[in-house]
């Protein structure tokens, strides 16, 4: 119980918010808008899972938003060329994995700091995409939206897929050697090396995995609408980093889990609809998001200080 204090406190805040909504704005609890909200956040959840891994391994990846845009546009272009979706999906994942491998090679191979490397790849990818596409939207064939299924079925399918992936990864992080490996690298890379595992190789593959998940998320994004816009990933990196940090994953590595990241994401995702339902101007969303991040890190800071004493 004490071990999961941080995650439980985020869940408690989320429950308070949901309870407040139930009392003051019961209109929030309508099945269709809630399902739409969940569908919109499903790709974000996938990226947040990857980001949680990256941050637990004491790295950071701020290029995911640009990777997401590049994968979305490439997958959409392939789909528009009438590739079957069964091929577009692995292609999108592969493109993401390659982009992640570039980050991984620079960070793990050359030992460069992930914050600057991914800052640079973020700009390079975004501007490269803008230069090639000039902000043009891609129109998709009819059979792409919701995999050609009805909207409700497609929405349920996406949400279920995202949750299944979350559960699988969350369990793997706790029970599989690969998951413990991520914690080992993030807690103390040198100790991990002495224990016989290879932190640099591991870091490389964590970034590849992050890219692959982003590619998957991009695929889940493009099937939601008839058109794909190239700016779809702008700001995604901050959203997922915020969710992961609010969910109790320590930015200094080695601590946290995916359940916390999930609770953090739900909390942040509920703010915008909550603002509308509680009749607060939507312009406050970003400021409140920032305040929540600061609150979460301050809480962490106070807790770790108490731990010192």
């Amino acid at each position: 119980m004490r071990h999961y204090f941080r995650e439980l406190s985020v869940a408690a805040v989320l429950l308070v918010l949901l309870a407040a909504l139930a009392i003051f704005a019961p209109a929030f609890y309508q099945p269709q808008p809630l399902l739409s909200l969940a569908t919109r956040e499903a790709p974000t959840l996938i990226v947040a899972c990857g980001m949680a891994l990256v941050i637990i391994a004491r790295q950071i990846d701020i290029s995911v938003g640009s990777q997401f845009s590049v994968c979305s546009v490439s997958a959409a272009l392939l789909a528009a060329m009438h590739w079957p979706l069964a091929l577009v999906l692995p292609a999108s994942v592969a493109i993401g994995a390659v982009l992640g491998a570039i980050n991984g090679a620079l960070i793990a191979g050359l030992g460069l700091p992930s914050i600057v490397v991914t800052l640079a790849t973020m700009v390079t990818l975004r501007q490269g995409l803008n230069m090639l596409r000039q902000g043009e939207w891609v129109s998709l064939p009819d059979n792409v939206q919701w995999f050609g299924l009805s909207q409700t079925v497609g929405q349920w399918l996406l949400v279920a897929a995202a949750l299944a992936l979350l559960v699988a990864l969350g369990l793997a992080m706790r029970h599989l050697a690969g998951g413990r490996f991520v914690y080992a690298v993030g807690s103390d890379a040198e100790a991990a090396r002495l224990a016989g595992i290879r932190p640099r190789l591991g870091t490389f593959f964590i970034f590849v995995f992050m890219g692959a998940l982003t590619g998957l998320a991009a695929m889940m994004n493009i099937i939601q609408s008839p058109q794909v816009q190239p700016l779809s990933g702008v700001g995604l990196e901050l959203k997922v980093i915020a969710a992961v940090v609010v969910g109790g994953v320590a930015i200094s590595g080695g601590r946290g889990n995916l359940w916390g990241a999930f609770a953090g994401l739900l909390l942040l995702a509920c703010i915008a609809p909550a603002l509308t339902h509680l009749r607060i101007e939507a312009y406050w969303e970003k400021a409140i998001q920032g305040a929540i991040i600061l609150l979460a890190v301050v809480a962490d800071g106070l807790r770790s200080r108490k731990g010192d004493a």
Binding site: L110, V123, T124, Q127, Y283, K286, G301, L302
Partner: protein
């Protein structure tokens, strides 16, 4: 022979073979390239494009804001920290300045003074969280990055733009004074002041010591928290100055002012030879880095090829990102090479 020379290398030689000198050489080469490739004559025989004097002043004018942010970020990064919130703070200060003047009915000088105080307070917030709670600067300033921009959007409802500033104020951003763009007379002294702070005062030594080893600096008796607070407060105040210059140049204050500027500023600092791990770096290197990025951006817009593609903005962003990757790789290359050498020639050397 070579070894003894190395040991007694005079100061000018150290300077000549420094990274900054190399970067300066690259800058000159870059400038010459654009001078020859981007200057043309129009039909009336007037020189247009990159080679005109007006263009040089334009480059200086446009590099003032990012230059200020980059110069202020240099001590922050030397101490091993980072400040992602400077671009957002620029936006917040710009619209607060507009609000003080437009809605608050303050005079321009009072509004400027108040904006600088806001900048100091915002930097103080970063500093307090980083020093008092020992939180990582990356995540603190990520939070304030979101907070400051969000406050700017909330105050303006994402729509209000403050305009119609008096012409005496716009002079600061749009006119020339004593031959130089007026804002250069503000930015350059600030740059020199920060250069003095980092390179000619004991403060600079303590910044480097903290960057190398915060614990070591603490054991050596340095007031680590006060020094760290100082660099973040300076970053806040300088962001406010940049906000005022930005507003004066564009004649309007909007909530999205300075979006993405933190990126260009960090790029300029790293390109200028400051280690992102902290401990080493120079302010003049940063200034050359800023100039290299500004010349690249302006020069590309003058190249006929790029003009036809209508993608100067995107291309300069792309090249800036690529340039940052190259500079980073070049920075660790000697270490990598010596590592590989050690691995393959271990027997032969020892």
């Amino acid at each position: 022979m070579a070894a003894t020379e190395q040991a007694r290398r005079p100061a000018w030689k150290t300077l000549l073979f420094s990274y900054e000198a190399l970067l300066l050489l690259v800058l000159v080469a870059e400038w010459l390239f654009f001078y020859f490739a981007g200057t043309t004559m129009n039909r009336r025989g007037v020189v247009v494009g990159f080679g005109t004097l007006d263009r040089q002043f334009d480059i200086l004018r446009h590099s003032c804001e990012i230059g200020l942010l980059a110069v202020a970020l240099t001590p922050v990064i030397i101490t091993g920290g980072i400040d992602l919130s400077v671009g957002s703070l620029l936006g917040l200060c710009a619209i607060l300045f507009g609000k003080f003047w437009h809605d608050g009915g303050l005079t321009i000088p009072t509004a400027i003074a108040l904006t600088l105080v806001i900048g100091a307070a915002a930097g103080g917030l970063n500093a307090a969280l980083i020093t008092a709670l020992r939180l990582p600067p990356l995540i603190v300033t990520l939070g304030t990055y979101s907070l400051f921009r969000g406050l700017a959007e909330a105050i303006t409802h994402g729509a209000i733009t403050y305009t119609n500033f008096p012409s005496a104020f716009l002079f600061l951003g749009q006119e020339r004074w004593l031959g130089l763009p007026a804002q250069a007379w503000v930015s350059l002294p600030i740059g020199v002041a920060i250069w003095m702070l980092v390179h000619r005062m004991t403060f600079g030594r303590s910044f480097r010591a903290i960057g190398f080893s915060p614990d070591g600096a603490r054991y050596a008796g340095l007031p680590v928290n006060r020094r760290l607070a100082l660099v973040y407060v300076i970053a806040g105040v300088v962001s406010a100055v940049a906000a005022i210059i930005y507003t004066a140049r564009l004649g309007q204050a909007k909530a999205d002012a300075g979006t993405g500027y933190e990126l260009f500023a960090i790029t300029a600092v790293v390109l200028g030879g400051t280690s992102i791990f902290g401990g080493t770096g120079t302010v003049h290197g940063t200034m050359i880095g800023v100039a290299a990025i500004a010349v690249l951006k302006n020069g590309l817009a003058c190249l006929p090829v790029v003009m036809r593609m209508n993608a100067a903005e995107e291309m300069s962003g792309l090249l800036t990102g690529a340039l940052l990757l190259v500079a980073l790789t070049a920075g660790v290359l000697p270490k990598i090479i010596s590592e590989l050498r050690a691995r393959f020639h271990l027997g032969a050397k020892t």
